[in-house]
Amino acid sequence: MKIAVLVNEGPYQHQSADTAWNFCKAAIEAGHEIQRVFFYHDGVNNATKLTEPPQDDRHIVNRWASLNKEHGVDLVVCVAAAMRRGIVEANLAEGFRISGLGQLVESGIQADRVVTFGD
């Protein structure tokens, strides 16, 4: 099954980003396709390559990137939300791409399910 995921909150502040990542991982392990992860609102902050969490904590940005590297998951950051919040090509982590809201609508059309994670 094709599942799209929408992430509306940034890393660390809320659990949404953690739950969304754990969900994606389990979906892939169960043989589903994560059609796309779309980052909206503060969710765009999941895509900064400048994070450096404490050594004894998880690295949320790198975890997302590994979904792209290992499973080819399309990680899309909303350009309008990103510009408001200072996420641009210069600080975009590898594995993510910046694009428009049309990518979210396309997910809604193409995927069998859309699962939203937020505050």
């Binding site: 509306n8 609102h41 309008a80 939300a81 049309g102 609508v105 809604g108 059309i109 859309v114 939203t116």
Partner: protein
């Protein structure tokens, strides 16, 4: 799915405007979804009904007043705006205080409408 697919998208608005950005950024998705020729509905319930209150004036808070966008939705053929009656009543609001024409639904009818959608996005 082919490019001609039309799905029922419902945008569920449960939060007041300005206190958080969800109402504003939700509208941006609504407009794009309409541009993709999808079947778009907006549901306003709980504090989401406050988004439609007339006379919003953001000069003194220095934020952008995005409420005129609700009036512009018609121009994008977005005409399905549903407001939950129980939410209005609990907040002492009447339909006359809203800035745009809406269909007022009972909670039960709103629930049925939600259950008929293909994609439900909540902001």
């Amino acid at each position: 799915m082919s490019e001609g697919t039309v799905k029922k998208f419902m945008f569920v608005n449960r939060k007041a405007p300005y206190g958080s950005v969800y109402a504003l950024e939700s509208l941006e998705v609504v407009l794009i979804t309409a541009a993709f020729d999808q079947d778009v509905s907006l549901a306003f319930l709980d504090d989401g009904v406050y988004q439609l209150v007339k006379g919003q004036d953001t000069k003194a808070v220095g934020m952008k007043n995005f409420s005129p966008t609700y009036r512009a939705l018609e121009g994008y053929d977005i005409e399905k705006l549903y407001v939950e009656r129980e939410s209005l009543e609990a907040r002492g609001l009447t339909e006359e205080q809203l800035l745009v024409d809406v269909q007022v639904l009972s909670q039960a009818d709103m629930a049925s409408l939600m259950a008929e959608q293909d994609v439900v996005l909540s902001f």
